[in-house]
């Protein structure tokens, strides 16, 4: 319930790790068996330290964050996310959201994913509804 949401409020689902266990499960539902997500050598050949996670899975992690914050009492209206850094195997990262504006029953947010060293892996914006807020 976010009827008490306020501008500046920042929230996260916390730091976590992801690797082949998560990526393979996502590949199985998104038909995304792409070599750079499955094979360290392919990741290195593409210019990364090893295999990297899917942008679409980061996209889902941001949606998970918003659903968690809404707690079943609103809906996601829009999300825009730009992927700025690779999500590397077993490196801690966390999705974050911050309320930037509240307009009646809608809230605008900044959303981003950063790793434990503060590097931004993805950043963007979202709008959600907050029923009962207006």
């Amino acid at each position: 319930m976010n009827r008490d949401a306020r501008v500046g409020e920042t929230f996260t689902t916390g730091f976590r790790r992801a690797g082949f266990a998560e990526w393979n499960r996502f590949a199985a539902v998104n038909d995304e068996f792409v070599p750079i997500h499955m094979d360290d050598a392919e990741g290195r050949a593409a210019g990364y330290p090893g295999a990297i996670g899917m942008g679409r899975l980061q996209w889902s992690y941001v949606h998970n964050l918003l659903r968690d914050w809404l707690a079943g009492d609103g809906r996601i209206v829009s999300v825009a996310l730009r992927f700025t850094g690779p999500q590397l195997k077993d490196v801690e990262f966390a999705p974050f959201g911050r309320v930037t504006a509240i307009r009646g029953e809608e809230a605008d947010l900044d959303v981003w994913i950063e790793d434990a060293e503060g590097a931004t892996l993805a950043s963007g914006t979202a709008t959600v509804t907050l029923p009962g807020r207006g």
């Binding site: 996502f26 942008g55 659903r67 730009r82």
Partner: protein, 170 residues
């Protein structure tokens, strides 16, 4: 320096480069998607418990970002030139023009505006248009940034999702 964007590619902006029709979405599709994106946590009850979803959410709905086009689709645009699997030139080949021939492709970003939710038995149609080409030099060298514009509707013609996807080829 030769541009990655040929005159034929530039002239193709606005053209439909893909359309697809999904098979009917099943409750199992939704449940498995939720399991995968929440792993190793359990997914929220609204995505797998029909009684709970009926009582609390007006029925089971897919997570907003759910992809109903994974694996096989019921129908889709036939490409003018058959692409290789995971072909970075897939968009251009779809409309019969040569692509830039770059080796790698990654997801640069996604924008989505959500309409009505996707529910079990829904059949979703997507239409993708070529929106924009940009060239830039970054950490991975010279890159071609391609924006596609997507629109999804359900079997009742209701808008499910509109947005833009950005790919980076290098």
């Amino acid at each position: 320096m030769t541009s990655y964007v040929s005159d034929r590619m530039r002239a193709a902006l606005g053209e439909v480069v893909d359309w697809r029709v999904s098979f009917p979405i099943s409750a199992s599709d939704i449940r498995r998607w939720a399991v995968a994106v929440y792993y190793p946590e359990d997914p929220p009850r609204e995505f797998w418990d029909a009684d709970f979803a009926d009582r609390e959410r007006g029925g089971i709905a897919a997570p907003a970002e759910f992809n109903p086009f994974a694996w096989l689709v019921a129908d889709q645009m036939k490409p003018a030139i058959r692409p290789e699997r995971r072909d970075p030139d897939r968009l251009e080949k779809a409309i019969g023009i040569p692509g830039p021939g770059l080796r790698h492709q990654i997801n640069g970003g996604t924008e989505a505006v959500y309409g009505v939710p996707m529910r079990p038995a829904d059949v979703i149609t997507s239409v993708t248009r070529l929106g924009e080409y940009r060239e830039r030099t970054g950490r991975l060298g010279r890159m071609l940034i391609t924006v596609t514009e997507v629109a999804w509707t359900n079997q009742r013609g209701e808008t499910v999702r509109t947005g833009r996807d950005t790919s980076i080829r290098y």
